[in-house]
């Protein structure tokens, strides 16, 4: 009986360890070997930009709609292409998972007689200390007519890993540091 308990314990312990480990491993693989895509972020509602300690991201590509209807429960993938400016765009939607580094699994739903999509990478975690400045920076650079924010995403075999949020062509942390320095020198 005791042996059985120990065996069950070992299995449960492995399960509890392997879920976070697998989550990390999948991202490590995608970040290391995936292809880099740049996604332009969409203008945001300032109220909605930061929830807790993450920046709530939305993308230009979220506005893509298609007139093909998928069944509920289908896994829907967006096939990506690069536009003239070097940003990612949706080429088409498919339910077939091929292999390659140009398609991402997306949430899809039927509304207003079109299939709508949402990219899954909508949270960018920031530190407690940086959160207010990050919110300000993201909102100021995601206004209509002044879209200076984009993210880099690594894509591999349908899995997408968020790499970095760029504001004004600088990684978020560098941008925040530069802004803080600017503010300090202005004070002097």
């Amino acid at each position: 009986m005791k042996k059985l308990f120990i065996l069950v314990f070992v299995l449960v312990a492995l399960a509890q360890l392997s879920v976070p480990a697998w989550m990390a491993w999948a991202r490590v693989q995608t970040l290391a070997h995936g292809r880099v895509w740049k996604f332009k972020t969409a203008p945001v509602d300032p109220e909605d930009a930061v929830r807790g300690r993450y920046v709530r991201l939305s993308y230009d590509v979220d506005r893509y709609t298609a007139n093909q209807k998928f069944r509920s429960g289908d896994s829907v993938y967006a096939v990506l292409k690069e536009n003239a400016e070097g940003f990612a765009e949706v080429d088409r939607l498919t339910t077939e998972k091929g292999d390659g580094d140009n398609f991402v699994k997306v949430e899809a739903w039927w509304s207003n007689d079109r299939e709508n999509i949402a990219f899954p990478l909508n949270q960018y975690w920031v530190t407690e200390r940086d959160a207010p400045a990050a919110e300000k920076a993201y909102v100021e650079n995601s206004r209509r007519g002044q879209q200076n924010a984009f993210v880099t995403v690594r894509v591999r075999n349908g899995d997408a890993a968020l790499e970095q949020l760029y504001i004004n062509n600088q990684p978020l942390r560098d941008y925040l540091r530069a802004e803080a320095q600017k503010a300090q020198s202005e004070k002097k």
Binding site: P20, R27, V28, V126, R129, L162
Partner: protein
Amino acid sequence: MAGSINRRAVRWLRGQLPELVAAGAISSENAAKIEHHYASVETRSNFGFVILATVGAAFLGAGIILLIAHNWDDLSRTTRTIIAFIPLVIALALVAFVLLQRNESRPWREAVAIFDFAAVATAISLISQTYQISGSFADFMKVWLLLCIPMVYLLRSAFGAVVYAIGLIVWLFAREMAFFVRSPNPMFFWIAFLLVVPYFLLRYWKDRESRECTALSIALVIALTFGMGFTADFAKSDLGSVAFAGLFTAIYLAGIRFFPRNDDRLHIVALLGGIGIGVTAICLSFESSWHMTREFFWGERTFQANIAFALEFLFPLAAIAMAAIGFSRGRSQFSWPAAVFPIVTAIGWGLANLCDKPAERWLGTRCSFTAAALMNCYALWLGIDILVRGIRANSVARANFGLLLIAALAISRFFDSELSFVTRGLGFIVVGAGFLVANVLMFKKRSAAPV
């Protein structure tokens, strides 16, 4: 006293008892009495300690989560990944230690179970932050619940099971709050609920009167209520009233059947079921509750929606079966008006659906009015029955609940603006008369009964 007991000394003394009996120093009867005395003292001191240890573990876990939510940006991804696993590895080491060395200690088992739950949540959250993994809170809860439930069985942790049941409710709500919801399918709730049922049964067979079993049954009843609500919503078939009537009646009957008591008081499960029946009956006494779509199904039919539809019948049928068994055995201790609630509701549902569909969904018809009238009569009957049974059992609480039900019915009709003044007046007269008769009966009985 309980706090000052030296447990090691007690263990020694209990070990000595057989020798003392053999030597003739004390009788075996005395030995049994000593054994019994220390057994009760130990469980009492244990329960307080269990709560303290569990709360301590919960605080420790919450503290770790808060520290980690701080999100140390200066650390590398690898370092943060290692940190994410530290609490989990410690928790698992503790679980192994408890299983091997402290398997008989309830405080250890409960506290370590809660600590492990927190450690799993911490590991998943920190990995998500470190690798910028987006995901809904509902998905997080789902993974967390599935990873934690085996520990409830391994560590035989009743508090763990209660936390799990609360987690199920949190999942139901988290799912609704997703920023767009195509189909809030609640089927996972039922699967996850079934996973904790065997543990509840184990506890029930071991000691159904224990505080842990009671706490767990309360948690499960509340989880079931929310689960049924979301399932009825998902089924899109206008049968929520029957489903809820069945659920609460089943809970009430199960409380009486499976938690019998020697005195006339109700077990908490039966009491919760009874309150549910009362509240649902009052809700259904409003005419607007019966504005039906005149469609058995509405919305998109999917396989899951049909399962939800079938689930709506599960509890009404269970309630009817339990009532029938109670009736056939001829020793029904339950209130008949409460037991027939699902049938009355089903009749009301049928009546409300007799008329043709009104031009606008929210318009009342003669049929919805008839159904509401039926439920008013029913609620009054139920209130009087509870009152009378309360008087018979000399239970002031139950008599008051009956009166409360009748009063709630009267107040509801007063504010129900959809009824004409004449109907409202007539209803009021009936309710008021019932109220007076019941009061007179109660006081007659009370003054006649020996104090």
